[in-house]
């Protein structure tokens, strides 16, 4: 210990026994101080270059890029509004039938939106069922658009022509278990339009492992699901250099109840499994890892810890790629994600919903201070269950703009770098997450841990623990379990702008989509469909085969999503979740 540290240690002891103790006397109900103060003693072996370094460089603790792109763009807002880039990319959207979604995107294009679709799909599509399946009656076109065959994708993409053709836009597909067939359909669509597939840019979520832990749109057991993931990875790596392979998410896992440390450990263990799948398939890690993206890790209202979380995540991922997988290209080592720290949708409250504007603003500030844009997410009406209103979306956008342009929050990169507290907190989260990752490795990796039910039970238990903590007052939520007396004003809000989706069209969406599907089935070559499905069954049984090329043929022959999935169900079986008790 240096002379300086000895001096600080002595001073700290004196402070604890003097000023701190005196302050504590006023709060006899407290066992220990309610706030901590950090000193150089909390990071005594701190090596700046090893632990933090420079933004955009290994180990990327301070940031994925030298500065956030929005910092540059924000300088132009009042001078060249068109190029300021402070308007969001296409929102996650998809309604009813492909026709409904097409018309929505067409309106957007007429309003000047230039981005490709960010497609929300309905649950039957995500779970591998066709719209005419009686078992899923009532779910067609809800929470997203119904896609049964290539015909549906053709309709959705009708407005994307000319300078908005598939080689000029980027698309986003929120689909996991059935992702491989959606990718096949997109390739088929491009080939039918005569566009070389190496020009396609899209991001399928294609993050199946987290579906067993959160969100629940699985179909097959984890083993065969990983084979399908491998097939997409290998095909994309070989033929589609501009296409992303996956958009991994810890955010769903956190929203399902995982703690911060579980979120980080499970997400990175999932990433490890995907990378290993690529390596095992004989691919060079630097050929595919740069095409991995992250949707987002989880967030919470504890923003200081969330900033540390993001710093720890970047450092751990970089080290994982470099040290465990031997990556050499820095682009393999970075976490590419649209937002950094943020609050979670589960941080918002239905009670006094305008308070959520404040919560999301706090999250946006944390986002900017953790190496990302100041993204106010989610819009305040998230917990009302009515869809985001245009007003709420406008407020969310303006929050980020105010933080960037007026508060100039992006002017400094990683403003907490070197902070005694932040570096100690970053180390602490990293160590705890690493310990959990090692535990999962010890079980044989995340696939084995999911098969055992360990991960699912761990997350459910954390969710229950959290709920009990709200119940007994250990966790406080304003307007929910505290400050709810009669003298509080229940601030209400009106949502004036109508939803873009016409309720009459919505009501008839299922019926219209079933008619669409019937027509496709009537027009297609049934013999060819049967031939392709037979071939699919054969190839599915041979683990060495890559199923994607054949699926592109299936898509072109208008084989339905469920027909493909049913063949695979027959070969792979279906996933049975473990008991929760």
């Amino acid at each position: 210990m240096t002379e300086q540290e000895d001096k600080i240690k002595a001073e700290k002891k004196a402070w604890e026994e003097g000023a701190l103790k005196k302050a504590m006397e006023r709060f006899s109900f407290l066992q220990e101080p309610p706030a901590r103060y950090y000193t150089p003693l909390d990071r005594s072996d701190f090596d700046f270059l090893e632990k933090v370094g420079f933004p955009g460089q290994y180990p990327f603790t301070a940031g994925t890029y030298p500065f956030d792109p929005m910092a540059g763009l924000s300088r132009l807002a009042a001078k060249a509004p068109q190029s300021s880039g402070l308007t969001r990319a296409a929102m996650y959207s998809g309604y009813g039938t492909p026709e409904d979604t097409r018309d929505y995107y067409r309106q957007n294009i007429e309003r000047g939106v230039r981005q490709g679709p960010n497609l929300a799909m309905d649950l039957p599509t995500q779970c591998g069922y066709d719209s005419d399946n009686e078992l899923i009656e009532g779910e067609v076109g809800k929470v997203g658009v119904a896609i049964d065959t290539l015909r549906d994708l053709e309709v959705i993409y009708e407005p994307y022509q000319g300078d908005l053709n598939l080689d000029n836009i980027a698309s986003n597909f929120t689909v996991n278990a059935s992702a491989i067939y959606l990718i096949a359909m997109y390739v088929a669509l491009a080939e039918k339009r005569g566009i070389p597939i190496d020009r396609l840019r899209a991001t399928p979520q294609n993050d199946i492992l987290k579906e067993y832990i959160a969100r629940g749109t699985y179909i097959f057991p984890p083993g065969p699901a990983m084979r399908l993931f491998r097939d997409t990875l290998v095909f994309i790596t070989r033929h589609m250099p501009r296409m992303n392979i996956t958009s991994m998410g810890g955010y769903h896992i956190r929203e399902a109840g995982a703690t911060r440390v579980q979120d980080l450990a499970f997400s990175l263990s999932i990433a490890t499994a995907y990378i290993q799948a690529g390596v095992d398939a004989g691919q060079d890690v630097d050929a595919f890892a740069p095409r991995f993206t992250f949707n987002a890790f989880g967030g919470s209202m504890e923003v200081l810890k969330e900033i540390a979380f993001q710093r720890a995540a970047r450092r751990m991922y970089a080290r994982l790629l470099k040290e465990r997988f031997g990556a050499k290209d820095p682009r393999s080592m970075i976490i590419r994600q649209p937002i950094c720290a943020h609050i979670g949708p589960s941080s918002t409250t239905k009670q006094r919903p305008l308070n959520n504007v404040i919560r999301a603003t706090i999250g946006a500030m944390a986002g900017a201070m953790s190496g990302g844009p100041p993204a106010a997410f989610p819009p305040y009406d998230e917990p009302l269950g009515l869809g985001w209103s245009r007003e709420a979306q406008q407020l969310a956008q303006d929050t980020g703009r105010i933080l960037a342009c007026e508060a100039r929050i992006l002017d400094v990169v990683d403003p907490f770098a070197g902070s005694y507290y932040m570096e100690a907190q970053t180390d602490e989260i990293e160590a705890a997450a690493q310990a959990e990752m090692d535990k999962i490795d010890g079980m044989g990796g995340i696939v084995a841990a999911i098969e055992k039910g360990y991960v699912q039970r761990a997350v459910s238990r954390s969710a229950y623990k959290y709920q009990r903590a709200i119940s007994n007052g250990d966790i406080q939520i304003v307007g929910v379990n505290c400050f709810i007396g009669e003298n509080e004003l229940e601030v209400q809000t009106n949502r004036l702008v109508p939803h873009p989706y016409d309720p009459e069209r919505r009501a008839r969406a299922e019926e219209r989509q079933i008619a669409n599907l019937k027509e496709v089935k009537r027009m297609r070559d049934q013999k060819e469909v049967r031939r392709l499905l037979g071939k699919l069954e054969q190839k599915a049984k041979d683990e060495r085969e890559n199923l994607l090329p054949l699926m592109i043929e299936c898509a072109k022959a208008y084989v339905t999503l469920q027909e493909v999935c049913d063949v695979l169900r027959g070969v792979f079986g279906e996933y049975e979740p473990p008991s929760i008790f």
């Binding site: 779910e139 629940g216 239905k350 229950y464 929910v480 379990n481 929760i580």
Partner: protein, 139 residues
């Protein structure tokens, strides 16, 4: 001694958001209920069949996908058809308030949305079961 209340927690439809369903299942079990959790993707038929076979007094449905009106109606109708019309039905999830009257009309005893206090759910279920058993308990 008070008879233990048997509850079935079901996730009808394809919605996979089961945090709430699991938390409620754990909570009711800790409160002394006998709890059966169906897991994801159950058809209304399967839920009603399990409820009748297990002879539960309470069925709780968790739905966050917006498909609640159709699914709840289906479960409620099938319960009645199967002779389970004394079963207390409650619903949790993302349910817009404008849909509350329609759900109550179908026979739903209570609707619990986000921010509901745990103890409130337990008390409410106990109260409804008492009423059904004819043990009174006003309102």
């Amino acid at each position: 001694m008070e008879q233990r209340i048997r509850v079935l927690i079901g996730k009808p439809g394809l919605d996979g958001h089961d945090r709430g369903a699991k938390v409620i299942a754990y909570m009711l079990r800790d409160a002394g209920f006998e709890v059966i959790y169906t897991g994801l993707r159950q058809t209304p038929e399967a839920i009603v069949k399990a409820a009748l076979q297990e002879d539960v007094q309470v069925v709780g449905l968790s739905i966050l996908s917006g498909a609640h009106l159709g699914l709840v109606r289906s479960v409620a109708d099938k319960l009645k058809e199967g002779g389970g019309d004394d079963v207390v039905l409650f619903v949790g999830g993302v349910i817009p308030e404008e849909d509350f009257p329609a759900l109550k009309e179908m026979g739903v005893a209570e609707i619990f949305t986000s921010g509901t206090e745990i103890g409130q759910v337990v008390e409410s279920i106990k109260r409804h079961v008492k009423i059904r058993r004819g043990e009174g308990g006003a309102g």
